[in-house]
């Protein structure tokens, strides 16, 4: 499904710049029109992704609009026909020199010790045009040298030139107006409010856009000088948005990620998690050598309690022996979302084409069936964010899970007139701007959708009035009637609710709104690449099912014929002792599978466990063979984001020890099994992918090089699967249903290994809707037992007006409280009873 727009004739506005006629675009700001046509006007406050404010006055130029020449800020002035601009006149030059001097009078002479030195527009301007000497002999303005405005960002107010970029970003873009201008006159300063830190998931962006060294990021402070940095443009693999980044390193160590402005994706913004996660890749705890089971003395011992280092040849040998001894239907491969497309393809070929097993799943029971994600009409981020469009959120809070996407969505809703309808169990970071923000009980979304469009009673949407649902439905119907695009964001709003009810609701929306397109909110790294490469049961590379093996059959030794288990099925089989070899590709099943008990039993009862990973997670600690993999900053390849957009991942540094790219591990393992996968490089993999998957035919190194920033969108749908409707039990005597979701910061392995992020995990509390709290006679802060069929956890109670009545909210993957202990993967929803202690 493509969003083709017919080419539009863009009229132009003729203006005169320094004597030459220049064609500006209608409404284009003078500063942008000049830059586009080769005349750079200096600026500090202007930023193309922020509302213009015209505050620094650096961009003053003499403009005549028929009333005689006047100095005007070119960053505020839309081009109008006949405008005559002089960027070099005596008066322009004097005004700009004057502003530069004003900005310097109070600016400290910190350049030699300032992180910004070398990449500082103020320094560059001064070097280029500034006077050699200062006319300012008075004492400069003094402030306490850098004050932390949050855990990671330091503010040096002496260096600040008050351009309003950081403050505008905080208010306009992130919606966290926690930094502000204070005081006035020469004492004007940016600061936080007393006792209120700049607690924002996006604070690092302010460091990046600060035109001077006033804002610095703790992880980079005093680490390098810009001229010592090497950089390469790459893709953030942290989540499925695939934000474009610049990876910057010095002496073979990554020191910084910066956002790169890809118009179709992240607009230059990054969440702090995307920005600072490089610290984890550089962490001393990274696995650097293969390991096998051994004893406490470091000797190999197949049933030993410890892992001991082993050479690659030995470790691969142990893995290969186990693999060749096992029949195909007793082999399973879990995980792979961390991998590049190429590594995923190599592993798909190894698992399905060499082992011959279809028990392969990159998702870990926390996602959606591949045929639904690939089978629904697909949306791009741009389509979802169309000005005036309509967005239906049927999934998790994008602010917590997909930070850069959240910023795009927020912009669409707050600044571009998009209408948001939310069907979520809990308030999200966008709810304040939603036209209809409806709290839906776990398991109730499909009923809510039917009721929205006039079918049936909203039984499952208890607490929602039929009017509220009908009003939301009418809003969407009106958008459809007016031909405005409707985009459904679909994902798992709660890990304590099975995929089934969400799929039912998504399919119901699809049936009611055939025009609507869907944007998947599956979060984990390159999970969409994994689906495209066939790391899902029943699928082969290129979004085709096993029945359509024509592409791979000529190059793969074998192709499975019967659909295998998904992740939950694999884990259940392993728990039942039916899996001889379980390969884990970066899959920390003990943390990532919602059902903790199932994950434990599976690991305990699986035969040989082979883990390919970056870190020695608790899951890895229980493996028989551990193979160290290279991190995203250490490999070349490509990435597929949630839109299906393929972009380049670039190697910048070398992997620790003998860790190697995942695709190379697959090649060597195949080699041990007597099969040549045929790959000597990532380009070989890409070439084979292009040959076997028609929809990937255009993904060539040349095409990627030609569209390095925006990437290449892969389009094509799998036949839509329609699983049987999930029967949700009526709310039973327990009364409450669990909503378990992720937050931006948790105790996951990457956050835990990023010192800047590790302390930010909020911890777990049980959130009750205030009336539920009183109904159960609970007091805030009281520690209670949450009792599910599966198990019990102890947790403090909090009042949370953002949750649906009849639910309990718990964050997963937080220290101390393990929500996974309550979740039964085979149940559609998780009932909870509260036990007083």
């Amino acid at each position: 499904m493509s969003d083709e727009t017919p080419p539009v004739e863009i009229p132009s506005v003729d203006i005169t710049v320094d004597g030459e006629t220049v064609a500006a675009r209608p409404g284009e700001l003078l500063i942008d029109a000049c830059e586009r046509t080769g005349t750079y006007i200096p600026r500090f406050c202007h930023h193309s992704r922020l509302e213009p404010v015209g505050m620094c006055r650096m961009c003053l130029v003499e403009v005549d609009t028929g009333r005689g020449p006047a100095l005007q800020p070119s960053c505020m002035l839309p081009c109008t026909p006949g405008m005559v601009v002089d960027t070099e006149s005596e008066r322009t030059r004097k005004a700009q020199d004057g502003v530069l001097e004003f900005l310097l009078v109070n600016h400290p002479l910190d350049c030699p010790v300032c992180d910004k030195g070398g990449e500082c527009p103020l320094q560059d301007q001064t070097m280029a045009f500034g006077p050699g000497e200062s006319r300012f002999v008075e004492e400069k303005r003094h402030f306490e040298k850098p004050i932390p405005v949050n855990e990671n960002v330091h503010l040096d107010r002496e260096r600040c030139i008050l351009c309003d970029r950081c403050t505008r970003f905080a208010g306009e873009v992130a919606g966290d107006q926690l930094i502000h201008f204070m005081d006035r006159g020469g004492q004007t300063q940016v600061n936080t409010f007393p006792e209120q830190p700049f607690a924002s998931y996006f604070s690092g962006n302010t460091v990046q856009i600060c035109p001077v060294g006033a804002l610095t990021a703790a992880p980079y402070r005093f680490k390098a000088r810009p001229w010592d940095l090497e950089e390469v443009e790459s893709t953030s693999t942290l989540d499925s948005v695939g934000s474009r980044i610049s990876v910057q390193s010095s002496r073979d160590r990554v020191l910084r990620f910066q956002g790169v402005d890809a118009d179709a994706v992240n607009w230059g913004w990054l969440s702090d998690k995307e920005r600072f996660v490089f610290e984890a890749y550089d962490h001393a705890d990274r696995l650097a050598t293969p390991m096998l089971r051994g004893d406490a003395l470091g000797n190999r011992a197949p049933d030993g309690d410890a892992l001991v280092a082993a050479p690659w040849s030995e470790a691969l040998g142990v893995a290969a022996d186990a693999l060749s001894a096992a029949p195909a239907d007793r082999l399973a491969v879990l995980g792979g979302a961390r991998l590049t497309n190429e590594s995923q393809y190599a592993w798909a070929k190894l698992a399905k084409g060499v082992f011959g097993t279809d028990h392969v799943d990159a998702q870990l029971g926390d996602g959606l069936p591949a045929e639904v994600v690939l089978g629904l009409p697909r949306a791009t981020i741009d389509r979802a964010c169309t000005p005036g469009g309509t967005i239906v959120l049927l999934g998790p809070d994008p602010k917590e899970e997909l930070g850069a996407l959240f910023l795009r969505l927020r912009h669409a809703v707050v600044h571009d007139g998009a209408t948001l309808v939310e069907l979520t169990p809990r308030r999200t970071g966008l709810s304040a701007h939603a036209a209809h923000s409806l709290r839906v009980l776990p398991g109730g979304a499909a009923d809510a959708v039917s009721a929205m469009f006039g079918g049936g009673s909203p039984a499952g949407a208890a607490g929602l009035s039929a009017e509220a649902l009908a009003a939301a439905g009418a809003t969407i119907a009106a958008a459809v009637a007016e031909g405005r695009p409707v985009t459904v964001l679909v994902g798992r709003p709660s890990l304590a609710e099975a995929a089934g009810p969400v799929v039912d609701a998504a399919l119901a929306l699809h049936d009611h709104l055939p025009e609507a397109a869907f944007l998947s909110l599956l979060r984990r790294g390159n999970v969409h690449g994994a689906l495209d490469m066939g790391l899902a049961p029943g699928l082969l590379p290129g979004r085709v099912t096993l029945a359509d093996a024509s592409g791979v059959s000529s190059v793969w030794p074998t192709v499975p014929t019967d659909r295998g288990h998904d992740a939950i099925g694999i884990l259940e089989a392993a728990a039942a002792g039916e899996v001889d070899v379980l390969v884990l590709l970066g899959a920390d099943v003990l943390a990532d599978v919602p059902d903790r008990d199932l994950a434990e039993r599976a690991l305990a009862n699986a035969g040989t466990v082979v883990a390919v990973d970056l870190f020695g997670t608790p899951t890895v600690a229980r493996a028989d063979v551990v193979l160290p993999a290279a991190a995203p900053t250490e490999v070349d390849g490509t990435f597929t984001n949630l839109e299906g957009r393929v972009s380049v991942v670039a190697r910048k540094v070398t992997a620790p020890g003998t860790a190697r790219p995942d695709w190379a591990i697959a090649v060597e393992l195949a080699d041990r099994l007597g099969t040549d996968l045929g790959f000597g490089s990532v380009d070989d993999v890409l070439a084979e992918l292009a040959a076997v998957s028609p929809i990937h035919a255009g993904i060539t190194p040349e095409a990627l090089a030609a569209s390095v920033r925006e990437g290449v969108l892969v389009e094509g749908r799998t036949a839509l699967a329609r699983p049987d409707r999930t029967e949700v039990p009526v709310n039973d005597a327990y009364g409450l249903r669990l909503v378990a979701d992720r937050s931006m910061y948790d105790v996951g392995v990457l956050v835990a290994h990023s010192p800047s992020l590790a302390g930010l995990a909020p911890g777990a509390v049980a959130g009750f809707e205030p009336s539920d709290l009183s109904r159960h006679g609970l007091a805030e802060g009281e520690v209670v037992d949450l009792i599910a069929d599966r198990g019990t956890v102890q947790v403090a109670v909090a009042s949370d007006p953002g949750v649906a009545r009849g639910t309990v909210h718990l964050r997963v993957n937080q220290a101390d409280v393990d929500a996974g202990r309550l979740i039964d993967a085979s149940a559609p929803v998780t009932g909870i009873r509260v036990g007083r202690r």
């Binding site: 015209g54 006047a70 900005l103 030139i161 006035r184």
Partner: protein, 471 residues
């Protein structure tokens, strides 16, 4: 009372001339509804309500009522700037009066709040507005109190609120007060403040909030005194109004005179008739410079106006002629200084005000005004350098660049306003700081030089002994 020098008698002085806005000031209880009604209060409103709104607007336009907030823009013309068909629209009354030496709006608010309210009501009726905001300077507690009490009276008596005086015209007037910042007198900063934001001016264009103002809606902002004139105009007609004053500046104006005169105070003066000399020396007016002293200089129209000297005394108090002589009547604040005044100190005083009150939004004003202030303070401290005089002028030039071709735009009523504006700043506050500097240096350069150099021409700050600091 005559003869005695009363330095801070910042009160109203009745000079026996025609009265448009100060007629009730002589009464003790001038601020009550009772007194107001007994002396013709709300007659203008009744007269207005009896006519179609467009007529009322036309009456004010015909009266050529010039804005009294500083720029002197004709109110009737400004009222016509609202874009067609965009609703709602608002009237905002600028009662933030904080320019040094200005205290005439304060008297209007304290002494005759009903007159102001009546002016607001007529304006709202003329323009079809149903919401008016009265923004009063934060420090003016008595004014706020009296306006609040007057509003309560007026609501109770049916002058404000639903169905004013039984007509189908309904309007609400809301009182709001500032938090002590001079810059919120600038109309777009005032609107920001009213919206709950930090008071910083908005970028122009749009040049008038009439296009996009409060909450993004068309908004008319007028000064307190401007609106206080409106009831009289409606009660007596534009023709009667124009019989007072000069052709281009009809009617009267309030002038707040302070400084070294014998009788400082607020005077209602017929425009174009009275001269500065009459005002300073006339018996009914300020009665001369304090005994034994003579005039050195005066500020004719608020802190941002270029200064005048003895040769300007015979100029009439009228916008056009004062403008032609190179200054302005601005906010009607006249500060008179005698020969004991140190020009450098006086200049520093004024510049310090602007430096402290700069909102900090744009770099030339934020950095430039405090730099000017520091240089002046340094000169006063005896650490001036000969180059400082040129430096002061050049820093000023970088805030308010030198002479520009001034285009007039009578079609927009921009007769007296130099356009394009001479400023590298966002609003005129920054450039205001330059007026005292250029005024005093032009006339009293020797005073600056005397502070900078000793009698022998050597800079005072140059150390008599000890080596030069390294190159």
């Amino acid at each position: 009372m005559t003869g005695a020098y009363v330095p801070h008698a910042a009160g109203y002085v009745d000079n026996g001339g025609p009265k448009v806005v100060s007629s009730r000031f002589v009464h003790e209880d001038s601020y009550t509804l009772e007194r107001s009604l007994a002396t013709g209060g709300y007659e203008g409103l009744r007269a207005a309500l009896a006519r179609p709104p467009a007529d009322v607007h036309a009456e004010v336009r015909d009266a050529t009522l010039l804005g009294r907030g500083g720029a002197g823009f004709p109110a009737g013309v400004k009222w016509g700037f609202c874009p067609e068909g965009v609703w709602p629209r608002y009237l905002v009354v600028n009662g933030d009066e904080s320019e040094p030496g200005t205290y005439k709006d304060r008297l209007l608010m304290e002494r005759d709040p009903h007159q102001l309210i009546e002016g607001c009501l007529i304006t709202c009726y003329a323009l079809g507005l149903s919401q008016c905001f009265l923004y009063v300077r934060g420090e003016m507690a008595l004014g706020q109190e009296r306006i609040a009490a007057a509003l309560n009276e007026a609501y109770a008596a049916g002058y404000v609120g639903r169905n004013v005086l039984g007509t189908d015209f309904s309007v609400d007037v809301t009182l709001h007060w500032g938090a002590g910042a001079y810059i919120v007198g600038e109309e777009t900063a005032l609107i920001e403040s009213l919206e709950g934001n930090r008071g910083m001016p908005r970028l122009k264009p749009p040049y008038f909030p009439a296009a996009i103002g409060l909450y993004g809606q068309p908004t008319i902002v007028n000064n307190v005194e401007t609106l206080a004139n409106v009831p009289w105009i409606l009660a007596n007609g534009a023709e009667a109004y124009k019989r007072m004053g000069s052709e281009t500046s009809p009617g009267t104006r309030l002038f707040a005179v302070s400084g070294h005169v014998k009788r400082p105070g607020v005077y209602e003066v017929e425009q174009g008739v009275t001269t500065f000399r009459d005002l300073f020396y006339g018996d009914g007016f300020c009665q001369g410079i304090r005994d034994g002293h003579e005039l050195k200089m005066f500020i004719p129209g608020g802190g941002s106006a270029p200064w005048f000297f003895a040769e300007h005394l015979d100029l009439p108090l009228e916008a056009k002629e004062v403008g032609a002589a190179g200054s302005m009547l601005g906010s009607g604040a006249i500060v008179v200084m005698d020969e004991t005044t140190d020009a450098v100190k006086a200049c520093h005083r004024m510049v310090r005000f602007f430096a402290r009150e700069s909102c900090g939004k744009c770099s030339p004003c934020r950095e430039g005004t405090s730099w000017e202030e520091k240089i002046l303070a340094r000169i006063l401290d005896g650490h001036g350098r000969p180059s400082d005089i040129d430096l002061l002028l050049d820093v000023g030039d970088n805030i308010s660049p030198g002479p520009y071709p001034v285009a007039s735009h009578p079609d927009e009523g921009l007769d007296a306003v130099p356009f394009p504006p001479r400023q590298t700043t966002i609003c005129p506050l920054g450039p205001s700081s330059v007026a005292p500097i250029t005024s005093t240096i032009r006339r009293f350069r020797h005073e600056f030089e005397a502070k900078i150099t000793r009698g022998d021409g050597i800079p005072v700050s140059a150390a008599p002994s000890g080596g030069e600091a390294g190159s």
